[in-house]
């Protein structure tokens, strides 16, 4: 297959240096120019973290990220921690503080905008879950929809995403072997990662993936995310404070998100489309396509400028889908693209280098999304303990997926935008 990094992206978008829509935008007007990611931290991740609660593991992550930044709790005047935001502000005695309301990668962009707009100076973005998944006969609580028209049909996230994968197989001939290649690649990254919950469990071949027991066809057990416990946090601050910081400052270069509606209430139909569709390819099956275009536009970068893709990997197929939606290959070419080795550590677009949700950790609904961004930051800092991509300067992180009807895309780099 003729995929190469110099080839312009599909759908006619010009690639490197695409400045369409930004002609009037002066360099200093970049929305995140005056903000840096100053600290990142993952706590220990494990199938179980005895003695921890979601709050306690989240606070451990906050301390870790502040230490990484060379800052302390006394410096913090902004908190974004999803359901725990208000509690942390109160219990850590951080008030008066800015309080975030977003989830996933949106937490990072929201905090960056709050700093940029003068609402706070040091924001912690944190999440953690522990002690939640206690009924092991059932799938994890955050994977079980509770909507009246969904629950009686026995859906859970694997089935929701399988309904999208099936349409891709029907439309484009995508195969279980191609999906298994994704799972083997990512699980092998986790196998090599000393911090991964499933460190040392591999290595895997695509045949190993397909030999695991079926879960929701076409997915086998090893095509699916695991479940675990853990916490993570990022610290963002003003760029003019960077000289006081311990770690190499990292910039948010662009971020955008797409939604097609509430997760797990309506059928995850590949062809669901709305009024804003730009063409026939803007539909729920390609969710994230518009977000990627916008994130790259804000970053003033093209696809070929990206060194590593920290893609959200709830299920193997979702990586194939995002490679297409984000414009790294044409619609329908994601299967052959991964089969050709493009996402391997030595490929053109190494993907999910920490082992992702499949092997590194899948600690609840929110930490798993933030952890893709933390790995992206570690990649451009050059500090990954395993599968460090040499010379990585720009990293993409994603979160959310087609089965949930939303997708988020963020770009990180060491060069000030």
């Amino acid at each position: 297959m003729g995929h190469s990094r110099g080839v312009p992206g599909p759908r006619g978008q010009s690639d490197k240096g695409d400045r369409k829509g930004h002609d009037a935008m002066a360099p200093e007007s970049h929305p995140y120019r005056d903000v840096v990611v100053a600290g990142v931290f993952n706590t220990a991740q494990a199938r179980r973290l005895p003695g921890h609660t979601s709050a306690s593991i989240t606070v451990e992550a906050v301390h870790g990220a502040l230490a990484d930044a060379g800052l302390g709790l006394d410096d913090v005047d902004g908190v974004s921690a999803a359901d725990l935001s208000a509690r942390l502000i109160h219990d850590l005695r951080l008030g008066p503080a800015w309080r975030g309301t977003q989830y996933g990668l949106g937490m990072i962009a929201e905090a960056a905008l709050a700093i940029s707009a003068g609402m706070c100076d040091v924001a912690v973005v944190a999440s953690g879950e522990a002690g939640i998944h206690t009924d092991r006969a059932a799938t994890a609580p955050w994977t079980r929809p509770e909507n009246e028209f969904v629950i009686p049909w026995g859906l859970f996230t694997a089935a929701e995403f399988a309904l999208v994968a099936r349409r891709h197989m029907i439309e484009y001939g995508t195969t279980e072997d191609q999906m298994a290649t994704v799972a083997a690649t990512i699980r092998n990254n986790g196998h090599a990662n000393p911090e991964a919950v499933y460190h040392g469990r591999g290595p895997y071949t695509p045949a190993d993936i397909r030999a695991s027991r079926p879960i929701a066809e076409p997915f086998h057990l090893l095509d699916c995310a695991m479940t675990s416990e853990g916490g993570c946090a990022l610290v963002l601050t003003r760029a003019d404070r960077a000289r006081d910081l311990r770690a190499t400052p990292v910039y948010l270069l662009g971020m955008a998100a797409d939604s097609y509606g509430p997760a797990y209430q309506h059928p995850p139909a590949y062809d669901l489309a709305g009024r804003t569709a730009r063409d026939a390819d803007d539909r729920a099956g390609t969710v994230g396509r518009r977000a990627a275009d916008r994130a790259f536009r804000t970053a003033r970068l093209g696809r070929t400028d990206v060194d590593v893709l920290e893609l959200y990997d709830p299920f193997s197929f979702e990586v194939i889908r995002q490679l297409e939606a984000f414009g790294f290959c044409a619609p329908g070419e994601g299967g052959p693209f991964v089969a050709d080795g493009h996402i391997a550590p030595d490929g053109k677009y190494p993907a999910t280098t920490d082992g992702g949700l499949m092997s590194y950790s899948h600690a609840g609904s929110n930490p798993q999304m933030l952890q893709r961004a933390i790995r992206a930051v570690q990649q451009v800092r050059g500090t990954c303990a395993s599968t460090q991509i040499p010379g990585a300067r720009v990293a993409l992180a994603s979160a959310g997926g087609s089965g949930a009807l939303f997708n988020q895309v963020a770009l990180f780099g060491t060069e000030r935008p």
Binding site: G154, L163, H266
Partner: protein, 137 residues
């Protein structure tokens, strides 16, 4: 052969959704049609998803449609489900779409575009669920 479940988890009926569930119990598959723009709406809604009108009337579907996508599930979401079961998205002939389970067919015989018809089954308590089975056995 895939069969209906018994004792599956159910969420409470609301005033908005009661006409749908009452229909199932009375042997009818109901949906809402917008009298302003003609859009067929499902799940039950207070606003037409085609034009935002509130002029919605309940209609009875012929209960015929085609399989848009499906997955055969082998690991149940909770132990209250018997495996395998086939989750499907069915396109109804009236122009709306439903999540359902397929029954009356072998798990490996489900195909995209397969014609199906509604098959109402009680699953315990008062609730009757609209399963779908092949239209032409």
């Amino acid at each position: 052969m895939l069969e209906p479940q018994t004792g599956v988890p159910l969420n409470p009926v609301t005033p908005l959704t009661a006409p749908f569930w009452d229909g199932c119990a009375e042997g009818e598959l109901r949906y809402q049609r917008c009298t302003a723009c003609g859009t067929a709406n499902f799940t039950p809604t207070d606003l037409c998803r085609g034009c935002t009108s509130r002029e919605l009337e309940w209609r009875v579907s012929a209960g015929l449609g085609t399989v848009y996508s499906w997955t055969v599930v082998h690991r149940p979401v909770t132990p209250s489900f018997t495996t395998p079961y086939a989750v499907a998205i069915v396109d109804l002939d009236e122009g709306y779409r439903m999540l359902t389970n397929l029954i009356g067919v072998e798990a490996d015989a489900v195909r995209e575009g397969m014609r199906v018809r509604v098959d109402l089954h009680g699953v315990g308590g008062e609730r009757v669920l609209p399963y779908f089975r092949p239209q032409f056995p």
